[in-house]
Amino acid sequence: MKVIAGTDNGLVKSTTIETKETKTWGELNPTYEISSMTWWNSFPENDYEVVTAHPKGIVRVWDVEHGIQLAEMSKFEKLVKIQLLHSYKNLLTTCSKNGIIDVRNCSPGNQNFVPNCKKPEKQIFPRVIRFETKVNDINQMQVDLSSLEDVKLALGGKGSDLQIWSMENKKCIWKAKNVPNNRLNLPVPIHITDLAYIPNESSKIVVSTGNSEIRLYDIKAQHRPVHRMKISKFLLNKICVSNCGRFVIFSDVTGVLQRIDLRNYQVVQGYKLNSGTVKDIAIHPTLPKIAVCGYSRFLNIYNFDNPKPISSIYLKQKCTSLLFSPETSLQTEQEKLQKLQITQRKNNEYVATQEEEEMWASIPNVEDKNEIDNINKVDNINKVDNINKVDNIN
């Protein structure tokens, strides 16, 4: 299994989990902080190309197998922070902290650069849509991947509640309403830290807030949240939804990881972590495994059931974004042999090695079937009956 991590300093790292090897590339520069990463799926042959976004206003493309920087795009205007990139239908969508949404076309017909070249070239991709939402402080943006015709975005941040915009009309479709007042009759402050769509259902959204609550919104039902859960004293930082749509994994500012079941609304499992804020959570696309990184400079990988990690690797920088590659574990030669032997035993084609044959030869043989039955019989059953009988009670 492979994991790709982007750091605070402008470096990109890739690790293989079984051998614990790490490779790094890039230049150390604290102004080139990475805020988000995605896969670059425009070339169906190569699966190992990664796009990174920097809050300075720059987007870079990397080749992860060879460690080369392929391209750099630098004409994003006055962006304070680039939020999320989702490559969908060859459309790259970016969002800035001020509220400017920028969509570019990256299909292979429109491009000028050659893959696997050594010098990176500054290029501009043609722009499709650009519009301004007048939302001030955005923390997270998500694109709805299940809708094919009309693309929708969900936004949220500090001081601005959940909103849903459509890309064709450039308008706000749906807006959430604030929760009713406190016991002291004061309005509850609005602070959204993370969003997630539930897969295969395009109308349900899970949201984590600054009051340490988790809320479920349903677009078709009502404007207020359908369900609210209060958790702890500290801020909730990140949220991730599993592929079946049943479990939600959330993390804390101090270093707490827990899992919730959406049918019961109860905390089901906790995981052991190093202390420090968690910056990104990633779930494998097919297997039930979780990867976590943060300011504690460690990478931890968990199964869904076990609180202890499978492996923890020391990365020397603070990591801010993660990607899980879709390949399963490497099959070494030993594992292939073991699998062959198991299938052979089931089909009665078992061929023993030399040691096993000597072991079977040293044990004495049992020839008759009657002897086997006689060994299992109990002798002197009558004696037991004689003890229990009572003679001559007078």
Partner: protein
């Protein structure tokens, strides 16, 4: 009773000890048991040394086991061959000071301080060169930080009192981390007998045992409170000594003298100022923010492992 017991009698009297009620007799027997145990141990050592000398082997001295030798090895130790970690340290938030910039420190207290706190602060002003005292009338610390940024200060220290002096906050400007400490065993300067008086020379710094990556962060934070060119004619030393996650602070004046009988150099120390111990509570990434902060490290029951042999600094 004989002077020392044989090993069979030892085992018998040792088993009878908890059953005796006579206090005088019990104390006599306890003395004999301890004496004979020591005697038996010594005889074994002498015999083994004799045998080793006859065979020609070296007699090695045995070293006792302590917690510092049994502790869990730390993966995050900084090694001098690591290029990546050293480059990361060189581009830190503290790296501007190591090229010759002098710091300017602001010291305040909590609201309504007592007499003992104000005397402690006057001791601290003698420790840090180029430091100033501000009387606390504001309730918000974030407004004090704004005032300090206007007047070009580089660090802010807040000392906190809760019937005894118990807390310390160190804030590094303009964007830097804040650290929260817990103070215990505070000794004021005027209580020390035979102490020396402070002078205005720039002091020398000693930082001991800050080995891990977290320890390097805190060590550089302390080093950025002092100017980088010490004046050796003043003979003034400030030490921060770390052992098992406790940090010990001392402020001394030293004298190097040559003893005539031994023909080697001796160092004598005379205490000037306060002495206290610190323990790390948490480190935040940005400026002081009690609500929305992100933590680099925090000491909390739910997230720390439960073992006596694991240390973080």
């Amino acid at each position: 009773m004989p002077k020392t017991l044989s090993p069979t009698e030892l085992a018998r009297w040792k088993g009878l000890l908890p059953k005796l009620k006579n206090r005088m007799r019990k104390s006599q027997i306890y003395k004999k048991v301890k004496q004979s145990e020591k005697y038996i141990k010594k005889q074994k050592k002498i015999e083994s040394n004799k045998i080793a000398k006859e065979l020609g082997k070296k007699v090695e001295k045995q070293v006792p086991l302590t917690i510092e030798k049994l502790k869990v090895p730390d993966e995050t130790e900084v090694k001098p061959e690591d290029d990546e970690v050293l480059a990361d340290l060189a581009s830190d938030e503290f790296s501007r000071y190591f090229s010759g910039k002098t710091p300017k420190v602001l010291i305040t207290t909590s609201l309504k301080p007592r007499k003992s706190l104000i005397e402690f602060v006057s001791d601290l002003i003698a420790v840090f060169p180029n430091s100033f005292y501000l009387k606390r009338t504001e309730k918000n610390i974030s407004r004090i930080i704004k005032f300090a940024k206007k007047n070009k200060y580089t660090d802010v220290i807040v000392v906190h009192q809760d019937k005894t002096i118990s807390g310390l906050i160190v804030i590094h400007l303009p964007y830097g981390p804040t650290a929260f400490f817990k103070l215990t065993n505070v000794v004021q300067a005027k209580r020390i007998e035979g102490r020396a008086f402070p002078s205005s020379h720039f002091p020398e710094l000693i930082l001991n045992n800050f080995n891990s990556r977290l320890g390097h962060l805190i060590g550089r934070m302390f080093a950025s409170l002092f100017p980088q060119r010490p004046q050796f004619s003043g003979r003034r030393v400030v030490t921060f000594h770390n052992q098992r996650d406790y940090i010990f602070f001392h402020h001394d004046r030293y004298l190097i003298s040559k003893a005539e009988q031994r023909q080697r150099l001796d160092i004598e120390l005379q205490e000037i100022g306060p002495a206290f111990t610190m323990k790390l509570k948490s480190i935040q990434k940005g400026l002081f923010d009690p609500v929305n902060a992100e933590y680099i490290w925090i000491r909390r029951k739910e997230t720390l492992p439960n073992s006596r042999k694991r240390f973080f600094l």
